[in-house]
């Protein structure tokens, strides 16, 4: 079915299609349409919506619902995203699936509430405390917003972790035609089989160092413990350095091992091109146009983290310069620099004043690089 949808509406459609049946949130521009859509549609599908007293509470409620096996979503923007951070880390260490949409607007602080930005890239990666992995997706069309919402839920269920979906304000508010399939691919978290001995079951037990534990849902008869403290395979707190080390490494490894499935990178390199423009989100359209006009390469990211280091390093061996265009002062550019490790030069086109990046400054930069 084809529909003409606003980005945030497409997110609602994607979430419902993949089986999300709980939403907790707190209003904030430019994400609020997601809460409004869920408030309207969830009860009709037998799901539940709650407007909590703040973003911290919303994130807590999302984890609580997910503990019971209900796919849960919350949506917010800049300042609210900051408030959710403690619980985003909780979901990582306790391995509770959940999806957080952060519609990026201009910051710091209340900043530019109604203008687009891509300024929460590093907040999405490192906002919660500790040495955690992160999965961060970002759409550049409304169609992708729908698809990445589905992907975010599937990854969160499969890997039992929090997944962040970070569209910018333009994608969230823009209207485009969206092709909605009759059925989307749905991955549900693995549950222990009914034949296991529930009284001795170890919810966090794994065999391999990159494995996702098979944790039961609450009220299924297992009566286990969940904590934000480091814990052993039974789910009870421990400070044993060897167990802690295994745990944090496994949390990273399970994401690392699923890299091929998580990654989202499209590379378009015309013959004999010396420069490539890398972009994501709404910046992508301008970047692609500039690149096409000047026979430069183009790279689009739909997964920001885990960062596609290998792919970018390979790219760097084929060209002289990578131009990173983003609506911030260079957050992904630093990642690109790290990945290319001096093999190519990296420059940025950065606008962080609430305006979109048009093709012109990107074209200027391409020409500059060729002088």
């Amino acid at each position: 079915m084809s529909k003409f949808l606003q980005g945030n509406e497409a997110c609602v459609e994607g979430a419902l299609a993949v089986g999300c049946r709980f939403f907790a949130g707190y209003p904030i521009t430019p994400s609020t349409e997601i809460a409004e859509g869920m408030a309207k549609k969830l009860p009709r599908l037998g799901g539940r919506f709650i407007q909590m007293e703040d973003e911290i509470a919303s994130m807590g409620a999302v984890i609580g619902a997910s503990l019971c096996g209900t796919k849960a979503l919350t949506a917010t923007s800049g300042p609210g995203f900051s408030l959710k951070q403690e619980h985003i880390g909780y979901a990582v260490i306790a391995e509770i699936p959940c999806v957080i949409v952060n519609v990026m607007r201009g910051g710091p602080s209340t900043g530019l509430p109604t203008s687009p930005a891509q300024s929460d890239v590093m907040q999405a990666r490192w906002g919660t405390h500790g040495d955690h992995p992160a999965i961060v997706l970002t759409p550049s069309t409304v169609q992708e917003y729908f698809e990445l919402t589905v992907k975010a839920f599937n990854l969160s269920e499969k890997l039992r972790t929090s997944v962040i979906l970070a569209p910018d304000e333009v994608i969230a508010h823009m209207r485009e035609r969206v092709e909605i399939p009759d059925q989307v691919n749905i991955i549900n978290r693995k549950l222990p089989s009914n034949s296991v001995d529930k009284s001795t079951y170890k919810p966090y037990k794994v065999e391999k160092d990159d494995e996702v534990p098979v944790i039961p849902n609450f009220f299924d008869g297992f009566r286990f413990n969940v904590t934000g403290l480091y814990h052993d395979e039974t789910g009870f707190p421990t400070a044993s350095p060897s167990i802690v080390e295994k745990c944090i490494k496994r949390l990273h490894n399970k994401v690392g091992s699923a890299y091929e499935e998580i990654k989202g990178i499209e590379i378009d390199l015309p013959k004999d091109c010396d420069v490539a423009v890398l972009s994501y989100g709404s910046t992508f359209r301008s970047a692609r146009q500039a690149a096409r006009e000047l026979n430069a390469g183009h790279v689009k990211l739909t997964t920001l983290f885990p960062f596609p280091e290998k792919e970018i390093r390979e790219l760097a061996s084929k060209i002289k310069t990578i131009i990173v265009a983003e609506m911030n002062l260079g957050q992904i550019r630093l990642e690109v620099e790290r990945a290319v490790a001096g093999k190519a030069s990296v420059v940025g086109v950065n606008i962080a004043n609430g305006l979109l990046i048009s093709p012109d400054p990107i074209k200027e930069k391409i020409k500059e690089c060729r002088i």
Binding site: F22, A24, P43, R44, G46, R48, I50, M52, E53, D54, I56, A57, S58, M59, G60, A61, V62, I63, G64, A65, S66, L67, C68, G69, T70, A72, E86, H87, Y90, F218, F219, D220, G221, F222, R223, F224, N225, V226, T227, G228, L229, F236, P237
Partner: protein
């Protein structure tokens, strides 16, 4: 007394609490109430925050979550929304539920969502080493009020009642037979129930305020607590330095998740 060991995770003992701490008495009261009600442990979730008192969740054999500081009620709200037919009990400290978590407490009470919140009120932050909390009486000494506490203190029962809780009660660890009954009624109430249990942290609060002995602290609870019936006949002067215990408020009201279920029924047919 009922045998509550079947509700304990005996392999998790010894517990972390100091000798003389009142937390064990409250935990026994909670388990006694659950036992009396004959609840199937598989249908009970116990949710706690962070603090000495919040370590309780790990010791009891239910679906347990040890959450983040102050946010137990938010997790519990999500659990209750996802599984409205289950019993959800929150075990929390005074700092946990009334300082960092104060807003969640107010709003859960306002919604009258069917949670039973038991606060272990030791008038201090135990786990972090005896800093003053919102329930530390004025002028008392704490690690962060070495010259006496300047803050006014909270009456959490008045607060939750005003916010919309449908059941409110207070007890103490001295009143060990009354406490389980109050918690039991709280669990039975279909709505937000708040039970404050005044308890002792002899190690920090007691030591800093000239009552380092746990038994002396229990005696103070005995001497200063007045039953609601008695309390209602006391003059303001007589109430000085005393506090009221018992069932303080019990007025059933429409419950949040039930209202939502009705909404689903209405909208689903459309």
């Amino acid at each position: 007394m009922s045998d509550i060991t079947n509700h304990l995770r005996m392999d998790k003992f010894p517990h972390i609490w100091c000798p003389g701490c009142g937390n064990g008495i409250i935990l026994r009261s909670v388990l006694t109430a659950i036992d009396k009600l004959g609840l199937d442990p598989n249908n009970v979730a116990v949710v706690s925050g962070i603090g000495c008192s919040s370590r309780s969740a790990g010791y009891v054999d239910f679906n347990t979550v040890h959450t983040t500081h102050g946010r137990a009620i938010t997790f519990a709200t999500g659990i209750k929304m996802a599984k409205p037919e289950k019993t959800v009990i929150v075990l929390t400290g005074d700092g946990d539920c009334s300082a960092i978590g104060g807003n969640h407490l107010i709003h859960a009470a306002r919604r009258n969502i069917d949670l039973t919140v038991v606060v272990f009120n030791n008038s201090i932050y135990g786990m972090t080493g005896g800093q003053f909390s919102p329930t530390t009486p004025q002028n008392d000494i704490a690690a962060t009020s070495p010259y006496g506490n300047l803050d006014n203190s909270f009456d959490l029962c008045e607060l939750t009642r005003a916010a919309g809780a449908s059941y409110v009660a207070r007890s103490t660890t001295f009143h060990a037979t009354q406490t389980p009954l109050l918690i039991q009624k709280g669990i039975e109430n279909k709505g937000f129930s708040f039970i404050e249990v005044v308890t002792a942290c002899p190690v920090y609060y007691g030591r800093l305020n000239k009552t380092p002995d746990a038994v002396d602290m229990l005696k103070l609870q005995r001497d200063n607590a007045r039953n609601i019936k008695q309390w209602n006949m006391m003059t303001d002067e007589e109430k000085q330095g005393k506090f009221v215990i018992g069932e303080l408020y019990n007025k059933p009201a429409p419950e949040y998740t039930e209202k939502y279920t009705q909404l689903i029924e209405r909208e689903k047919s459309k």
